[in-house]
Amino acid sequence: MNALKSETLPLCTDQDVLRIRQTVRTWMIEQTFNMIEQTMMVTASSELARNVVVHGGGGSARLELLADSGRQGVRVTFEDKGPGIADIEQALADGYTTGVGLGMGLGGAKRLVNDFEIGSEVGKGTRVTITKWK
C-alpha cells in the first residue's frame, strides 16, 4: 500500500491536540469525505491524540493518504513512548477510564473508524493506527 502523501506532527500539548484535529479535518475535506465521516475521524483522532499527551507523556501523529485497489483512505498513526498499556482488551472496553474522559476513549475511537490497530508494550510505549476508507 502506497502512501501518496504524509505528514508528521508533534503531540505534546493541548494546542497540539487541536492542531491534529484541524489537520485531520483538512485532509478529510480534501478527500471529499462527507460531514459524518469527517466528524467521526476527527473525533477518533482527538481521543487518541489526547491519550498520547495525557497518558503517553507526549509523542507524535503521522498522517498518510493511502491508495489501495481503487479506494483512498486517510490513516493516522499515534505513537508515544509512555508507560504502555498492560491489558489492551480491558483498555478497549467501554467504561474503562483512568479519570480524564468518560471511559469511551479507545473503544469509542475504534467504532468511529474502518480500521483500528493497537500495539503496546509496558515501559516502551503505545502505537494506535486508525484508517477511514472511501
Partner: protein, 131 residues
C-alpha cells in the same frame, strides 16, 4: 488564548462554545460559568454548541459537568444547536450524555428554561399553600 464569553440574557446565561476549544479553555470555562451563575443569580444556562464541530469524550464530560454543577447551584442547563454529524458521532462513540438537557436551537432552549423556571416557581407556590 481567548476566554470564552458568557452573556447574561434576562434571567439566563448564554455561552457560545467556539470551534477550536482546547482542553485548557474548556476547563477555564467550567470555572468561569460556575462563578457567573453564583454572581448573577442566573436561573438557567444555555450552552450553544452550534459552532462546535466535534464532541469527544473530554468535551462530553465537560458538558455533563457544567450541567451538574449549575444544577447544584439552582440553574438548569440546556445544550442547544448540536450539529447532526456531531450528534451521530456522539452516539457511535458511546457517550450517553443522559444528564444533559438539549434543545434544537437557542429559541427552543430559552423556552425550555423558562418552562422549567415557571414549573419550579409554581411548585414552590403549592408547597407554601399546603403549609
Amino acid at each position: 488564548m481567548d476566554q470564552i464569553p458568557i452573556n447574561k440574557v434576562g434571567d439566563f446565561l448564554l455561552v457560545s462554545l467556539q470551534v477550536d476549544m482546547d482542553d485548557h479553555q474548556a476547563l477555564l470555562l467550567q470555572n468561569d460559568l460556575t462563578n457567573q451563575v453564583v454572581k448573577t443569580h442566573a436561573k438557567g444556562v444555555l450552552i450553544d454548541v452550534s459552532s462546535v464541530d466535534i464532541v469527544d469524550s473530554f468535551i462530553g464530560r465537560m458538558l455533563g459537568n457544567m450541567a451538574s454543577i449549575t444544577r447544584v447551584l439552582g440553574a438548569n442547563s440546556v445544550v442547544v444547536g448540536m450539529q447532526p454529524a456531531v450528534a451521530i458521532t456522539i452516539v457511535e462513540l458511546g457517550l450517553s450524555l443522559a444528564t444533559i438537557q438539549t434543545a434544537l436551537n437557542v429559541d427552543k432552549g430559552m423556552a425550555l428554561l423558562q418552562a422549567l423556571v415557571n414549573k419550579a416557581t409554581n411548585e414552590g407556590r403549592y408547597e407554601r399553600l399546603e403549609k
